[in-house]
Subunit: 434 residues, 2 copies
């Protein structure tokens, strides 16, 4: 199957011509663009458009999209959201249709504070910041914490979107080897602006950070002062076993019972719990960080839509998340199992993987260390299936040995067909080897 | 009247402690915060929270808010939006509740291309980019065009939000003296990354850029290659006289009849035409710029809500903007006149101003060059009225001789009372002079 789709493996080069050195960037550069226009900012020369391709892959006829982290649209609570939307406009026209506070709708901040409070984690409105989706939290975090070249301690391979968000500030990254028995959290965090982890079903690997490592990260954050970012979009999507405590809850255990002032910055989103199209996320942190994020959001999008915030508030108050969670869990558990079954049949000779206990992805590492998954993607797209190559989860783009396969968007037989096409692509790639 | 409201005149100092030099910023700085935490990014030490204060001023009992650029909530088409919101969710659940293309909903891009096309300005979907409100367009523009210290040619005093958006990239500014008969557009634009103008009822001055100057700016942009940003949130809010051609339409006059590829970047928003709470704006530019903005938005908020985009699309298709415009114009024209009448009675001895033919603001310059409007604001807040001091529209914060007064949010008698309180504040300030 030949697709008229942008070629992932070559997508980086499209933007290379935007690049210019800092010293040249305010002068017109005839070589950079076809007309005599000023160059684009330097970071654009180092980016990739893979997320954009995932989001538009739905429009490619016949393609099985196992690349992005997209939910099953059949799980969206359509009649409820339709009703809540109309009611929100009529009941709160001024808040829904006017400008609102930058930090978010006060009632939504209160509801989120209540949702994430525990007997020992005391949260008030001042700990809560509403974002236009989870990605905006990552962007604003970079904006308030990173000067150019600032140091970030990251859990690699890491979320592609976090790399996208921080790329314009060209941070330096230090890898936290969380799975290494010799991992020293204090050494990993010391001197970094912040540490970034996805403790639950990490994107892309699907792994859970064990309790002992969670405790060590929190202790190191308290000791070194380094901010510890806990990104938790998948927390509720756990298919087996028991949840582990959040980093922020571990951090609050030692507090004096007043409003949270510790170093953990907890991030979440309605995108995986209800629907991405609402573009509602949140950051929970100590009040000084919330104030800094507010200054950053003032110059980014002024405020999040009052309409989507009121829908989110009504959904929280009506218990909508709890009501749809059983459907999400049963749907995605069955799809994970279908994907892993198909992989065992078709891909066991090529890759090895762990069955993830939660999240949206299986992370498969090639048995052959020389297998290049950027190249595999090229063949996969020709075969009519899209997966994510490991290079995009690596700040330097060097890891080319693994793939991330999403199991939430497609039904079991489509997943099986996608895996079959991937096996076909592997055979084709092998056959064409020089 | 004593208010428990944040003191505007002192609001800058609250963030000064966030500041740190670049070289120190990745190390914990005990002096910067009370605990041993890494410093915030440098730009936070140079910002102000006046927009935040405007947006929350509605919550201060008794305060007459003539500071922000807020619309009259009575003009919001509440029943229509409530209906469109419910219909959008039911008719397009996948697009409304799922992730969408970063560039925006294709149908909305088509509708905007059609709206802004003329017989000589040919626009296609590839010329149109949807933003989460007008502010996001400014933020993303800075993101794709400014490396640290990049040069911006600006029309000063200028929109506070543009300064907020670009502040993290610490640009250098060159003032375009558009009202100076000797203004040389070529000299003003040469070597700048972009020029920024609000040709219609510029915020804060309310002035229209005359036709000859519009033509000169466009000619200079074509000649030098410098991007020319035309920010046009108030274009439809014209109370007297005839509209002047848009910069992008002047630029397209000389084109060959194909899709627009000129240097003008046209920005607009539904915030002043329908309602701010939808958070829908747009950028119209040549396709390469749209592609760069797409890469920037990928790492900022991934995509704008499908719900608000579908409401915007339905509103455009239903002609909602045209239907509510007469109400907007008659309401705001009467309020502008009421404000200027009250100013003539109460403030004529203190200030001089022109009656604006459009927009949301009167710009009043003190007759006494030594009058400090930062200080005046302090007294004005005590007297129960809020206006914008000129310092916030100046990148260096040096202009302290003028105020911007909004006339769209308050009814005529509240405007008159606000002006009376402002006169009272002037008398108090004069009396307390050392």
């Amino acid at each position: 199957m030949k697709l008229t789709h942008p070629d992932f493996a070559h997508s980086r080069s499209r933007y290379e011509r935007y690049g210019a050195s800092n010293s040249e960037s305010i002068m017109p550069s005839a070589s950079a663009v076809s007309r005599t226009r000023p160059s684009f900012a330097t970071w654009l020369g180092t980016t990739n458009d893979i997320t954009r391709t995932f989001l538009s892959a739905g429009g490619v006829p016949g393609l099985i999209n196992m690349g992005g982290g997209l939910p099953e649209p059949g799980t969206f609570p359509v009649p409820e959201i339709a009703r809540l939307a109309g009611e929100a406009v009529k009941a709160h026209p001024g808040q829904v249709l006017g400008y609102g506070p930058i930090e978010g709708l006060p009632e939504l901040r209160d509801a989120l504070a209540k949702r994430f409070s525990t007997p020992t984690t005391r949260l008030s409105r001042d700990n809560v910041f509403v974002t236009s989706g989870g990605m905006q939290g990552l962007d604003l975090l970079g904006k308030v914490l990173l000067d150019e070249g600032g140091l970030v301690a990251g859990q690699f391979p890491t979320y592609l979107g976090a790399l996208d968000a921080w790329r314009p500030r060209q941070p330096a990254f230090r890898n936290m080897e969380l799975d290494d028995p010799a991992f020293d959290a204090h050494v990993a965090l010391a001197g970094a602006q912040f540490a970034y982890a996805v403790p639950n079903f990490s994107n892309p690997t699907g792994r859970m950070v064990p309790l002992a490592t969670r405790k060590a990260l929190v202790a190191a954050a308290h000791c070194t002062g380094t901010w510890l970012v806990e990104d938790d979009p998948y927390g509720l999507l756990q298919y087996d076993g028991e949840p582990l405590p959040r980093l922020i809850d571990i951090s609050a255990l030692g507090s004096d019972g007043t409003t949270y002032t510790g170093p953990v910055i907890y991030m979440g989103t309605l995108s995986k719990e209800i629907a991405p199209g609402l573009r509602i996320g949140w950051v929970i942190a100590e009040p000084e960080m919330i104030m800094a994020l507010t200054m950053a959001k003032q110059g980014s999008d002024l405020c999040t839509s009052g309409l989507t915030q009121h829908i989110a508030l009504a959904a929280l108050e009506a218990g909508l998340i709890d009501r749809i969670q059983p459907l999400l869990l049963s749907t995605y558990r069955a799809r994970r199992d279908a994907l892993c079954d198909a992989m065992r049949t078709e891909l066991g000779g090529w890759f090895e993987w762990e069955v993830p206990v939660g999240g949206m992805f299986v992370w498969a590492i090639a048995r052959d260390p020389a297998l290049d998954t950027d190249l595999l993607l090229h063949h996969a797209l020709e075969a009519g299936v899209c997966v994510s190559p490991s290079s995009v989860f690596d700040a330097a783009g060097r890891n080319r040995r693994a793939i991330r396969i999403n199991f939430t968007l497609n039904e079991p037989d489509r997943l099986a067909e996608g895996v079959r096409r991937l096996a076909e692509a592997l055979v084709t790639m092998q056959a064409r080897k020089p």
